[in-house]
Amino acid sequence: MTRIEGHAKITIQLDESGQVADAHFHVTQFRGFERISQGRMVHEMPSLMARICGICPVSHMVASAKACDEILGVTVPPVGVRLRRVLNLAQIVQSHALSFFYLSSPDLLLGFDSDPALRNLVTVARQTPDLARDGVALRRFGQRIIERLGGKRIHPAWVVPGGVSRPLEASERDSILAEIPDARARAHRTLEWFKKNVASWADEVAHFGDFPSLYMGLVHEGGNAAYSDGLLRVVDSSGWVMADGVDPRAYGDYLGETVEPWSYLKSTYFKPLGYPAGIYRVGPLARLNVAERLGTPAADAELAEYRERLGRYPSSSFHYHYARLIEIVHCIDVIAEILSRPDVLSPHVRARADINRHEGVGVSEAPRGVLIHHYRVDDDGLVEWANLVIATGHNNLAMNRSVLQTARHYIKGDQVKEGMLNRVEAVIRCYDPCLSCSTHAVGQMPLQVDIRDAEGSLLREVSR
């Protein structure tokens, strides 16, 4: 089994004057889920694909199940759609909490140049226990919803082709609703803390992946952000709509995929602009740029303030953190809305059918961005071919651009200080906490940095 996990490698190329000319971020782990799934029964796919990731298995289950829905040719009952949405949103809450509190808050609170041995959640807990407690509680809130609905916190089995495997029980609904006020309070408190402190990270804001790019996300008709359904929209850095109302089944008309020899991670690009000019970003920053609004009052008020502070289309990847916190607020409120509906306990949560089509595409918004599962099956439902386009792949070009920008700002000649290494970690962490988790430990991310001169000769290798 594979997922994005393991060691990261960065190469930094110096020019003849010793300045950074180029930099690459290499993912050195082979994933291979597209091959593993060949020959499997299509009904197994949601559970199998959930094993891609231990942080966002629900996203894979939802996207996979949607691809299976198409192959079965079914329409999922409305309550089944909403319950899948609750599960997906709960996962976004817990994943965003992990990203912000566990992985990024040590940098933000203790400083990017602080002692790496102490730059972790344990120290954060000692110095700012209130913030750490809020993070733990928000993560538990999301995980408990997943556990209640899906039976377990990681790799739940509830989402199936055609809907979900069983209806929601009243006791489950009531216990989740009882936890909403506390979760809301913690989310808002964290957002207020962040807004008060964001000015202290001005240098990082300016140099953590601040460049023009396209942005892609799912939106509902009318422009509200979508997380489980909706159509694809792509905008440029000034908000010009490059593509809109794109049925996810047509993703291949707009998104190209390519492989570079220095990384196992596929790079995707916006086809009309070609490679690599068609660089785009997905995930929280992109979603807030692409959507007109989120659709819940408190989150939209925060979004309005966010746009007033940062502009309508903020471009610094550092602002993924701010966007993430707003999304936590939004997700909690949508969960509350759905579970307060009188029909949420309906027993009609699944449609059943046999194989009616040989191809299906499912798209959802994972915490880190747009996630696409595309399958082809034979008459018996055996998977013949699968293509997965994962958020991290969408962001690969942008991550590389960000690493280059960070390196150019913080590396002078062949001098590499630990704080620079940490900022390289932190740039990556803005995009995708799975990478940070996969490289094991905050402050001890197994990271190797090669610095080469203009002829490609290795000047210095730094690893830890």
């Binding site: 566990y102 102490l118 959640l121 344990v122 807990a125 750490a132 733990v136 538990r140 430990a441 905050v442």
Partner: protein, 177 residues
């Protein structure tokens, strides 16, 4: 059994796709069945995570079950746990007598039982009794099967945990062979 095990938390952790690392979850599943209705809670988890500190803060006794690469294969051993002492200069904090302070351990995939207990202490001002029950592992390489020795050790590990829970005294544990 009566609900006299209320306040007991068992955390059985391990990766079920890493050979003998699955022994924790295997033992945990059996314990969940044996402890059903007793008031004890059993959590089976891939690894120790910070949110478990919240669960631990509500317990009077935490028993962590895990595979150990540094113990004889198939052995079941018990040791008392204490929260990690940290080196950061917070007023009033510092190492206790007789124990050298250490930096907090690596986080995320590397979080150890002492780190979890440190979080429990620092976030929730709770210091439950805590015990680690380890099963000596032969292999932690990728794979879905337990080695024979570890598989045979599971019933003994279950009984050891149940004995630990019954004894329930602070810091006095007899290592089991």
């Amino acid at each position: 059994m009566e609900l006299l095990h209320r306040g007991v938390l068992v955390v059985a952790c391990g990766n079920t796709l890493r050979g003998d690392d699955a022994v924790g979850p295997e033992v945990g599943e059996l314990l969940a069945a044996r402890l059903d209705g007793t008031g004890a809670s059993v959590i089976v988890s891939d690894q120790l995570l910070p949110e478990l500190a919240d669960d631990a803060s509500r317990a009077r006794l935490v028993v962590i079950v895990d595979a150990a690469a540094d113990r004889p294969v198939g052995s079941v051993s018990v040791r008392a746990l204490a929260p990690r002492r940290t080196t950061d200069a917070v007023a009033g904090a510092g190492p206790a007598d007789g124990e050298a302070a250490r930096p907090p351990g690596p986080f995320s995939h590397g979080m150890g039982p002492e780190d979890l207990l440190a979080l429990t202490r620092d976030l929730y001002a709770a210091t439950p009794d805590a015990v680690l029950v380890s099963v000596g592992a032969e292999s932690l390489e990728p794979g879905a099967e337990l080695s024979e020795s570890v598989r045979l050790a599971i019933p003994r590990a279950v009984e050891v945990v149940l004995q630990v829970i019954l004894e329930g005294t602070r810091g006095v544990w007899t290592p089991h062979a």
